[in-house]
């Protein structure tokens, strides 16, 4: 078993990359990440009531000249379709999204995630959103790639997070 990415290293990496705001709705795959976010002094965290609201918050933050990131469960991908297509993609607003990849083998007992788990990558492809799967090894280089594609294209990109990678 690989060792998970320490949440404080993960957040300070993002802070070093210029991210100063996070918003989204929790998933247990991000439990430790959210604990660290709530305590973080470098990254301000706003618990959002819905994932599309978090897209709005991060996009507004960008329009004011600062950068934030989004954190959500893949179920929330189904909530943000219009926010992506008619806001972030339409206005070309860079957006880094961390999306938990529920519905794979470890979620066999969670039928509520199975359909979305099956279609998650298809949904991202259909929305023309470049995505990466986060790994404990090389995690910084994966994030560097995602961030550089986001900046070069000025568009949303997604990092999928499987069980155990960011939280026990």
């Amino acid at each position: 078993m690989m060792v998970m990415i320490a949440p404080e290293h993960f957040l300070s990496f993002l802070s070093d990359q210029g991210f100063s705001l996070a918003s989204g709705v929790p998933c247990s795959y991000f439990k430790d990440t959210f604990t660290s976010l709530e305590e973080s002094t470098e990254i301000y965290y706003i618990p959002s009531t819905r994932e599309d609201e978090a897209v709005g918050i991060i996009c507004g933050y960008f329009l004011g000249g600062q950068v934030g990131f989004l954190i959500l469960q893949n179920s929330g991908l189904a909530t943000i379709g219009d926010a992506l297509t008619s806001l972030a993609q339409l206005y070309k607003i860079p957006l880094l999204m961390f999306v938990s990849y529920r519905g794979l083998e470890p979620d066999a007992d969670f039928p509520e995630h199975l359909v979305m788990g099956d279609v998650t990558e298809d949904v991202l492809s259909a929305y023309q959103i470049p995505y990466w799967i986060l790994e404990e090894e090389n995690w910084k280089s994966i994030l560097h790639q995602a961030i550089s594609v986001m900046n070069d294209s000025s568009l949303p990109v997604c990092v999928l997070v499987k069980k155990g990678v960011l939280s026990q």
């Binding site: 705001l21 009531t49 599309d52 609201e53 918050i57 507004g60 933050y61 329009l63 000249g65 600062q66």
Partner: protein, 185 residues
Amino acid sequence: MKGAEVIQKLDEYLTGKELIVSSNGNVSRQVYTLLPQPQVYLRGSMGLPVSIGLGLALSQPKKKVIVITGDGNFLMGLSSIATVGSVQPPNLRILVIDNETYATTGCQETVSSALNYVEMVKGMGIKSVVSIDLTKEKEIPSDLFDKFVIKEELQVLHIRVEIDDINLENIPWHPIEIKENFLNR
């Protein structure tokens, strides 16, 4: 009084430095036509003007951010009022132009007429909220916008208006241009 007249009147109280986010449809077209440019004119993302205004207010704490939204947009993103009530950004204010309809798509009814905006918004943690019915008025009380624009306090101003009968042209800027013009202001 109609929504466009309210927006036109607001112009007299603006310094030009305020950052404005307007909801999709008629409201954005009116804001584009009647208020100083450039602003964040939303073309889509119905329901999100308040959340975008919140992000903008946090990003630019020294500037006043005014969200101008139709009731349909406001109600679709109503839970963002709870988030705003929790964050309490003092530089954010929200103007609800309530014509009780989705006017842009042909004046279908919203659920707005059943609601008490003062109780609803106060219950979500925003202390300064004014609700006023101008459907039968020709003038706006002079102190209404004074306080709304000048006071350094999170505020919601809900105005009931008559439905607009004018239909403005589409905003000629592509959304990418809207963003770039706004970022360069």
